[in-house]
């Protein structure tokens, strides 16, 4: 049975495009134009993945409210923020509310589909046992490619899919410097340099929050970043 996805987007043209595209990718997609519509629908049945626009009609922060509502209902429901906004502040707010990813409307439908697939894959793989071939270990770091999980000293670091891909890119070739372009490509991210910097910053913060002496991601100024084992 096809997985169900809900798109909450106030702009009908974009909503229609996304719905049609995702349907084509084999998902059962429904679009909602406002927070009210979406809430009513979700009260009856929760979809398996929700894509939310932050600004909804008259409510500039409507997406955040909806996210908070959904998170209260289900702790594991994958939520992706999709917005025209691109300020760090919005990104941080969204992620703090428990969104699994954050994409700008610049992102192509293919990239969106890749992320959705990855999120579903992660949910799937969490149910299955860990297969050893897909696990990369470096000292305290344990990276499960299939489940898209990163563990540091056995504790899971709550990374988003984008962030996981970045860490994955760095960790696969420890000591190699990855420049911003490479990171962007690997993470299927269309952003500018500054966004890469803020992503790295956030990844570091997430590690540091659990391991205060974390310093494995090194900045090579003017070039990029590398993983120092």
């Amino acid at each position: 049975m096809a997985r169900s996805i809900a798109i909450v987007e106030d702009e009908p043209l974009i909503r229609a495009n996304y719905v049609e595209a995702l349907n084509r990718f084999g998902y059962e997609t429904r679009g909602y134009g406002s927070r009210g519509d979406a809430s009513t629908a979700f009260a009856m049945r929760l979809p398996e993945l929700v894509i939310i626009d932050i600004g909804l009609g008259d409510e500039p922060e409507g997406g955040f409210d909806l996210c908070r509502e959904l998170r209260a209902k289900s702790a594991t429901l994958p939520i992706i923020f999709l917005t025209a906004r691109d300020s760090d502040f919005d990104v941080i707010s969204g992620l703090r509310l428990g969104a699994d990813d954050y994409l700008s409307k610049d992102t192509s439908l293919h990239q969106l589909a890749a992320r959705i697939a990855a999120l579903f894959r992660r949910i799937e793989s969490l149910k299955a046992p860990v297969s050893s071939e897909t696990v990369i270990s470096h000292g305290p770091l344990k990276l499960e490619s299939e489940r898209m999980r990163v563990l540091w000293n056995g504790i899971e670091i709550p990374l988003t899919v984008t962030e996981f891909w970045m860490v994955h890119t760095l960790v696969r070739f420890p000591g190699h410097v990855k420049n911003r372009d490479q990171l962007m490509r690997e993470a299927e991210l269309v952003v500018d340099d500054a966004t890469i910097t803020s992503h790295i910053k956030r990844i570091r913060k997430k590690f540091v929050a659990l391991a205060p002496d974390f310093d494995a991601i090194e900045t090579v100024h003017g070039v990029g970043y590398r993983w120092t084992p």
Partner: protein
């Protein structure tokens, strides 16, 4: 010139007050003086008439010999030493002779000095004496007259012999002293006063000058200070006036009265300052000091000279006592149409200067006080005005530096005067400017935000179109549409980049790092991008520890490098130089390429300023934000960014001081 100086200059206008007062006092004084002078002239006229009427012993008209009183004893030796005190008033005679006469209680002394360089000498008893240099003397007492011949071939005592038959009491010979030197000869002799001489005649005959009549002598009456005339004058003289009677040759004949003023108590006596003020401001028309004429036997003053010509005259001169003036009036005394002398009245007074001084002093003090007060008030006013203007200007400048925004209210807007109006206008103006600047600042990001949605529609539609089974001939159009959208997207992102960068820069965190390390890393990274262009990195050998945000520095360097690279021709050179400065570090990125136009150098680091030619099709758009970001980064690090032309290229420099350390709470 500042406002304050100008107002002080205006305050000088009050100086007109004392000037006007001074003119008034001066005029008043002139009037008073004229009145006083006229009164004295009237007295003098009355005096002169009285002298004639009472038949006082007036001096005779015409020329006369004046006999001076001597204080020193005169020795008969032919030398002038003992005549020294009298010599200033020696009476000239003829072309080359001077005569001095003096008297004591018993004798009448004569001293005759003749200048003659070309001499012919003979003794008096020589028969050729009349052809040689000689003097003819003539004396008269009452009706008796006698003439004497004086001549000598050698210096020493000589005898003058009478030429006429014996005449009454007059002696037939006179003993004289003859002295001579290269310039001439001198004769000195004396006659007893008992002879009661009333005329004396003299003839100087120099052989070398040729003389047709060697026996002539010019006879003139003898005059001296007359006690009887003095008594007569004293009877007639008004009080408080000194009266002097002068002969037609201005010799002093009689005198009465004194110039003394009654002594004033010290408190009323004018001080030296008042005298000075009087002299310098009012008494400018006082005549030369006539003090030297006080004891002189001859009163040679301008007003006397004028009176001797027959006209009454007056003069003002400073008195002997400090602050006093003397008014002199000279009036000719005429009898039978002939000038018999001059009456000189001198009236000392203090009244006029005192009056003038008091008035002037009061005026000066008052106007000076007014001047001070006016100046002070104006200075205070000007200072207040200047301070207010300065506040207004500072606020305006601060607002201007701050893109039209002012922290806090605009000053002086509560004032009710024109400055308040100006301040309110300024406030309104800056409000408008500030709003406009804000609008401009946010326009790009607002616009990009608004553009994002339609862009997403186009983009997602194109993505969907991929799967709509388009005919193959439509594919290129799809690709072109995609390309266009991509460029539009890049443009929109660039538009919002500045505000995003501003936020990012403001929230950047600083670390203690080795600055050289950052620059080295960046330079390594750029080497790959430089292609066939050479890139040198000149770094100090020692670490450069600084408190900076490495990400921001790297970003700024990226922008600079990107900028430099695009201007460097293929095969050209680039150079990164890091120098440590006392306060931080300077990074310079120089490159070969066209130099900067001078007009752009100041604005290069402003937002939305670009030097590039219009972008070639397909290039990423340039909105001139790169160098603006560089400037923001430099400013965040308490530094500046500058650009200059160098030999064969340009150099961009960042002067950095490091981020301020945050205090740990």
């Amino acid at each position: 010139m500042t406002l304050r100086q100008k107002l002080l200059l205006v305050a000088l206008c009050t100086l007109a007050l004392p000037v006007a007062g001074w003119l008034y006092v001066r005029q008043m004084e002139t009037l008073l003086r004229e009145g006083q002078a006229q009164a004295l002239v009237a007295s003098a006229r009355a005096m002169a008439r009285s002298l004639v009427v009472v038949d006082a012993p007036l001096p005779p008209a015409g020329k006369a010999w004046y006999i001076q009183r001597t204080a020193t004893a005169i020795t008969m030796d032919g030398y002038a030493d003992d005549w020294a005190s009298l010599s200033p008033w020696a009476q000239p005679f003829g072309k080359n002779a001077r005569v001095m006469l003096s008297e004591d209680d018993h004798w009448l002394y004569f001293y005759i000095d003749v200048r003659a360089t070309n001499r012919r000498r003979a003794d008096a008893d020589d028969r050729l004496a009349l052809n040689a240099d000689h003097l003819i003397l003539s004396i008269a007492s009452g009706d008796d007259t006698q003439r004497y011949l004086v001549a000598s071939a050698a210096p020493g005592p000589t005898t003058a012999t009478a030429l006429d038959p014996e005449a009454g009491v007059l002696p037939d010979r006179i003993n004289a002293q003859w002295q001579e030197d290269g310039s001439g000869f001198r004769v000195e002799f004396r006659m007893p006063r008992g002879l009661r001489l009333d005329r004396f005649g003299l003839g100087v005959h120099i052989a070398a000058e040729g003389d047709s009549n060697p026996l002539t002598a010019e006879s003139r009456p003898l005059l001296d200070f007359s006690t009887s005339l003095s008594q007569e004058v004293a009877r007639l003289a008004p009080d408080g006036v000194r009266v002097r009677v002068l002969s037609p040759e201005a010799w002093l004949m009689a005198q009465s009265g004194k110039l003394d003023l009654p002594n004033l108590p010290a408190s009323e006596r004018p001080g030296w300052f008042a005298s000075l003020v009087y002299r310098s401001l009012l008494a400018t028309r006082l005549d030369e000091d006539g003090g030297w004429a006080e004891d002189a036997p001859r009163i040679d003053l301008p007003e006397v000279r004028e009176a001797l010509l027959g006209k009454p005259a007056t003069a003002w001169r400073a008195g002997e006592a400090r602050g006093s003036v003397v008014l002199a009036a000279a009036m000719p005394v005429e009898m039978g149409g002939k000038l018999h002398g001059v009456v000189l009245l001198e009236q000392p007074s203090r009244a006029v200067p005192l009056l003038a001084n008091r008035a002037l002093f009061g005026l000066m003090l008052t106007s000076f006080a007014v001047l001070l007060v006016a100046g002070g008030v104006l200075l205070l006013f000007a200072t207040r005005l200047t301070i207010r203007l300065r506040r207004l200007r500072n606020a305006a400048e601060r607002a201007q530096d701050n893109d039209g925004r002012l922290d806090g209210p605009f000053p002086l807007t509560d004032a009710t005067d024109e400055l308040g109006d100006l301040a309110r206008s300024f406030a309104r103006l800056f409000e408008v400017v500030g709003g406009y600047t804000d609008y401009l600042r946010t326009l790009a990001s607002k616009l990009s935000h608004e553009l994002n949605t339609p862009l997403a529609i186009v983009k997602s539609s194109l993505d969907n179109l991929d799967h709509a089974g388009l005919p193959p001939e439509a594919e290129p159009y799809l690709a072109r549409a995609r390309d266009g959208v991509a460029r539009l997207g890049a443009l929109v992102r660039a538009m919002s980049e500045a505000s995003r960068m501003e936020r990012a820069i403001a929230s950047a965190e600083a670390e203690d790092v080795d600055f050289a390390d950052i620059v080295r890393g960046c330079a390594e990274g750029y080497r790959g991008l430089a292609g066939d262009r050479t890139l040198d990195a000149v770094l100090p050998p020692t670490p450069v520890p600084m408190h900076v945000s490495p990400e921001l520095i790297a970003q700024a360097l990226d922008k600079l490098f990107d900028n430099a690279l695009s201007f460097t021709p293929p095969g050209g050179w680039l150079r990164i130089t890091l120098t440590e400065t006392p306060e931080g570090a300077d990074i310079e990125l120089a490159n070969e390429g066209p130099s900067l136009p001078a007009a752009m150098q100041g604005r290069l680091f402003d937002s939305l300023v670009s030097l590039r030619d219009k972008a070639t099709p397909g290039d990423a758009p340039h909105l001139g934000l790169g160098l603006y970001v560089v400037r923001l980064v430099a400013e965040r690090h308490q530094g500046t960014a500058s650009a200059r032309n160098i030999e064969g290229g340009v150099a961009f420099t960042l002067h950095l001081k490091g981020l301020p350390r945050q205090r740990l709470a």
